[in-house]
C-alpha cells in the first residue's frame, strides 16, 4: 500500500512540477516575442535613470522627448528596457542616461538583487533578461530569487492571458514630486541634525558594468549616448563622494559626453528634498532643458 501511495504521490508531483514549469517558462517566451515598447513616432530623445531624472524631466515641456526613468531602478533593469525600446523605435537618436553620485555606491548592488528591488523589477523585465543575468541574480540572492519567481510567473501569466503585450506605459515616466520636506530638512540642519555623509570607498562594480553595457547597446544601435546628472541640492549627502565619482567618470566614461546639472540654479523651494527637484523645479528645469536642446548649448 505504501508503495502504491508513493508512486501515486510521485506521479502527481511530477504533473504539478510540469504545470509549474509551464506557467513559469511559457509566458516568458510569449512575452519576449510579442512585447511592444513602441513610442510615438516623434519621440527621438530619451532619458533613462532612477528617481532623480524621474522627477526632473517633465516631458510635457521638452520636445520629442520621453522620460523612461523609474525610481530605484539600477542599470541592470534599465539595460533590457533600453534594448527593447531601441529595437522597436528606430527613430530614437539620442539617449540620456542618469549618472549621479549614488550610482557608484556599493548600495547599488541592493538595487539589483536586494529583495525589494528584485520583487519590484524582476517580474517586469524577466522575459528580456539573459541567462547570465539570471545566474548573477541567483548567485547573489538565491532565496530572494526563489521568492520572486512565483510573483514573476503570476504577473507574466496574467499579461499573457489578458493579451496585454504593451509595455510602453509600464516602463517609467515623469513623476512630479508633489510633497516637499525640504523645509524640515533645512530646519534639521539648522538645529544641528545632519544627514550622514556618504563616503563609502567601496563601489558597485556590477552596476558600472551594466552602465557600460547600456552605452555599448546604444552604440550598437547607432544611437548617441550622453550621461547626465540631474539637479541635486547643495546639501545632498551623496555629494560627499564627489571626488571618487569624478575619478570613476574620468577613468571609465571619459569618452562619453557628460552633462552635469548638479549645480543647476534652483532655489530651496524648487526641491522636494535634497535629492530630488519638486514639481515646480521640474517645470523650470525642463523648460530650460528644452531650450538648451534647441540651442545645443547646455551652459547655465
Amino acid at each position: 500500500m505504501i508503495r502504491k501511495f508513493s508512486i501515486k504521490l510521485f506521479f502527481h508531483t511530477i504533473l504539478l512540477g510540469f504545470s509549474i514549469i509551464l506557467v513559469t517558462i511559457v509566458p516568458l517566451f510569449i512575452l519576449e516575442k510579442n512585447a511592444t515598447f513602441i513610442l510615438p513616432d516623434d519621440v527621438n530623445l530619451l532619458v533613462l535613470g532612477h528617481s532623480h531624472s524621474e522627477c526632473a524631466f517633465d516631458d510635457k515641456f521638452i520636445g520629442n522627448f520621453r522620460n523612461l526613468s523609474n525610481a530605484g531602478q539600477s542599470y541592470f533593469y534599465l539595460l533590457p528596457k533600453l534594448e527593447k525600446v531601441l529595437e522597436q523605435n528606430p527613430q530614437v537618436e539620442k539617449v540620456f542616461i542618469e549618472f549621479s553620485n549614488g550610482q557608484i555606491e556599493e548600495r547599488m548592488n541592493d538595487w539589483i538583487w536586494g529583495y525589494d528591488k528584485l520583487s519590484n523589477f524582476f517580474p517586469t523585465y524577466a522575459p528580456f533578461l539573459g541567462w547570465e543575468d539570471n545566474m548573477m541574480l541567483y548567485q547573489n540572492n538565491r532565496n530572494g530569487l526563489h521568492s520572486t519567481i512565483p510573483i514573476m510567473a503570476k504577473k507574466n501569466l496574467g499579461k499573457v492571458l489578458l493579451g496585454d503585450f504593451n509595455y510602453s506605459d509600464d516602463i517609467g515616466k515623469f513623476k512630479p514630486l508633489e510633497k516637499s520636506i525640504i523645509d524640515s530638512l533645512l530646519n534639521n540642519r539648522k538645529n544641528g541634525t545632519k544627514e550622514p555623509e556618504v563616503t563609502n570607498p567601496v563601489i558597485s562594480e556590477i552596476n558600472l558594468q551594466y552602465l557600460k553595457k547600456m552605452i555599448l547597446k546604444c552604440e550598437t544601435f547607432g544611437v548617441e549616448v550622453i550621461l547626465i546628472r540631474s539637479p541635486q541640492h547643495r546639501f545632498y549627502n551623496y555629494r560627499a563622494n564627489e571626488g571618487l565619482f569624478q575619478k570613476i567618470r574620468r577613468e571609465r566614461f571619459n569618452d562619453i559626453e557628460f552633462l552635469d546639472f548638479n549645480d543647476f540654479p534652483l532655489s530651496d523651494e524648487e526641491f522636494g528634498d535634497f535629492a530630488h527637484v519638486n514639481k515646480k523645479g521640474a517645470i523650470i528645469f525642463s523648460n530650460w532643458f528644452d531650450e538648451a536642446l534647441i540651442k545645443n548649448d547646455f551652459t547655465f
Binding site: 501511495f5 504545470s19 509549474i20 503570476k154 496574467g158
Partner: protein, 482 residues
C-alpha cells in the same frame, strides 16, 4: 519550522520515510521517533525553549502518576493545583507579565502614584498557549478519572510535543490523542491520500488566501488614518479571510500531516463563515479551544444550568478569557466581550442550539432566510475582527468611527486595487469550493469519489499551481504569536 517553508518540505518526507521504513518495527520505536522528530521540529525554531516544553511535560507526567496513585481527595486536589500553578505561571510570565506590569503602572498613575518599572524583553515561546492547555487537559482528565495516567514517559512526551499540532493546535485532548500512542500505527492508504489532500487544501488556504489577503489587510490597517470608511471595510474583509485562511489552513496541514503518520486529530474548523448565528459560529471556529473552555471552564463554573445571572456571568467569563488567551492586549478582551454580547441574546432566548447541522444540508442552494442569516452573522464577525486586528483600542475605535460616517459610501481607494480584485476573485473561488464541500470534514476530502479521479487530478494540479503562483507574499502564521 513553518509548514509553508522549504525546511518543512524537506523535513516531512524524510520523517515520513524513516517512520514507515525504519522505525516501523515496533510501537516503542515509532513513539520514540515521533518524540525525537517533534523535538527536532521545535528546536529548529529555538532549541532553548525545548527545556520549557520538557519541564512542562515532566511536571504533568509525574503529577498525573501521583494523582492516579492517590485516592485522598485533598492530596489529589493539591497535586492538580500544583500542575495548574506551574503551567499557568509559565504562561503568565511569558505571555502576560509585561501586560500586567503596564496596566498596574497605569492604574497607580491614575491614582497619582507615578513610578516607572522597565518591562522585560521576553520572547514568547512558540506554541506555549497550545501545549500548556494540552498538558493541563491531561492532568484534569486524570484528576476527574476520565483517563488513566500513562506510565510511559516517551508516550507522554510524544503526546505533548507531537509536531504537527505542537505550535498552533488543534489543542488535543489526552482522551483522544494519548490512546493512539498505545497501539502500533499501520499505514493506511486511504487515510494518507486524504492527508495529502488536506495538506494541499491547507497550503492553499494559507499561501493563496491568507498571505495574499494579509498584504491588503496590513496595508489598510497599518495606514488606517489615510483611508475612507469603505476602504476600511475592505481591509476588515481582507483580514476576515486572512485569519480564517491562516489558522484553519494551519489546522488542515496539521491534521493532514498527522494522517500521514496514522494519527487522527480532532477537527478544528467546520466552515464557520457559513454559520447562521453566532452560537453556530462558535461551534465551528477554533473548535478545540472552544470545547476546551467549555469542558474545563464553563461547565465547572456551572455552565448554563443556573439562573439568568449565572448564565450571563459565565458567558462573559468564557468569552473574555478566550479573548485574553489570544494575547496580552485589551483588543482581544474587547473582541471576546463583543462576541459575548452577540451570543448572550441567543442563550437567554434558548436559541443557541438552533443550527446544529451545516447550512442547507442536502441542498446546494441556500434558502433566502439562510442567506440573510449567514450574511448577518458574517457581518457581525467581520466587525468583531476589527478589534482583534487593531493595534490598540484607540486604533480600533478610530477605524470603527470612520466606517460609520458617510465615507463608507465613497469608492474604496488603496494602492494595488487591480491585484486586490484578483485576490477577491480567488477568495470567491475558495468560498465556492468550501460551500460545495461543506458536508465533508474538509471540502476536498475524497474528492475523487465525487468528481472522478481524472478530474480530481486536474483539480489538484490547479490548486498546486495556484499555491505556487500566489506564494510570493510569505507571512508567519498569525496563531504562532498566541
Amino acid at each position: 519550522m513553518l509548514f509553508n517553508s522549504i525546511d518543512f518540505a524537506i523535513f516531512l518526507p524524510v520523517v515520513f520515510i524513516l517512520y514507515w521504513f525504519v522505525f516501523n518495527k515496533n510501537l516503542k520505536a515509532q513513539n520514540f521517533f515521533i518524540f525525537a522528530s517533534s523535538y527536532f521540529f521545535y528546536g529548529w525554531w529555538d532549541w532553548r525553549f525545548l527545556f520549557l516544553v520538557l519541564f512542562s511535560t515532566l511536571v504533568d507526567f509525574f503529577i498525573g502518576l501521583e494523582i492516579g496513585k492517590n485516592s485522598n481527595p485533598i492530596k489529589r486536589k493539591i497535586l492538580l493545583s500544583t500542575s495548574m500553578i506551574v503551567n499557568l505561571s509559565f504562561l503568565g510570565f511569558f505571555k502576560y507579565y509585561n501586560f500586567f506590569l503596564e496596566n498596574f503602572i497605569d492604574a497607580f498613575s491614575f491614582f497619582g502614584y507615578d513610578f516607572t518599572v522597565d518591562g522585560l524583553k521576553i520572547i514568547l515561546p512558540v506554541g506555549i498557549s497550545f501545549y500548556t492547555f494540552q498538558t493541563m487537559s491531561y492532568t484534569i482528565d486524570v484528576y476527574r478519572n476520565k483517563l488513566k495516567p500513562t506510565n510511559d514517559l516517551i508516550v507522554f512526551t510524544a503526546f505533548v510535543s507531537f509536531f504537527p499540532q505542537l505550535v498552533a493546535g488543534p489543542i488535543e485532548r489526552a482522551t483522544n490523542l494519548l490512546p493512539q500512542f498505545y497501539t502500533r500505527r499501520k499505514f493506511s492508504y486511504s487515510q494518507s491520500v486524504n492527508g495529502i489532500r488536506q495538506i494541499l487544501w491547507g497550503l492553499f488556504k494559507k499561501i493563496v488566501i491568507a498571505d495574499n489577503s494579509a498584504e491588503y489587510a496590513n496595508l489598510i490597517f497599518n495606514n488606517s488614518a489615510d483611508y475612507n470608511g469603505s476602504t476600511l471595510v475592505i481591509g476588515a474583509l481582507f483580514f476576515t479571510f486572512q485569519i480564517y485562511g491562516d489558522f484553519s489552513g494551519y489546522s488542515d496541514i496539521a491534521i493532514g500531516t498527522s494522517k500521514l503518520f496514522g494519527f487522527s486529530l480532532m477537527r478544528n474548523f467546520a466552515y464557520p463563515y457559513f454559520s447562521r448565528d453566532i452560537a453556530e459560529f462558535w461551534r465551528r471556529w477554533h473548535i478545540s479551544l472552544s470545547t476546551w473552555f467549555r469542558d474545563y471552564l464553563y461547565i465547572p463554573l456551572g455552565g448554563s444550568q443556573g439562573g439568568t445571572l449565572m448564565k450571563v456571568k459565565n458567558t462573559f467569563i468564557i468569552f473574555v478569557v478566550s479573548g485574553f488567551w489570544h494575547g496580552a492586549n485589551w483588543t482581544f478582551i474587547v473582541w471576546g466581550f463583543l462576541n459575548a454580547c452577540y451570543f448572550l441574546p441567543l442563550l437567554l432566548a434558548n436559541k443557541n442550539r438552533n443550527n446544529l447541522e451545516i447550512a442547507s444540508q442536502g441542498r446546494f442552494f441556500p434558502s433566502i432566510k439562510e442567506v440573510l442569516n449567514i450574511s448577518m452573522t458574517f457581518s457581525l464577525t467581520v466587525f468583531a475582527w476589527i478589534f482583534f486586528r487593531a493595534n490598540d483600542i484607540g486604533h480600533a475605535w478610530a477605524i470603527v468611527s470612520e466606517i460609520f460616517t458617510n465615507s463608507i459610501l465613497e469608492i474604496p481607494n488603496f494602492g494595488g486595487k487591480q491585484d486586490a480584485m484578483v485576490i477577491f476573485g480567488v477568495i470567491i473561488f475558495f468560498m465556492f469550493i468550501e460551500w460545495w464541500g461543506r458536508e465533508h470534514s474538509f471540502p476536498i476530502s475524497e474528492i475523487d469519489k465525487r468528481i472522478g479521479s481524472k478530474k480530481a487530478t486536474a483539480f489538484y494540479i490547479l490548486i498546486g499551481t495556484m499555491v505556487y503562483l500566489f506564494s510570493g507574499q510569505e507571512q508567519e502564521f498569525i496563531y504562532f504569536q498566541f
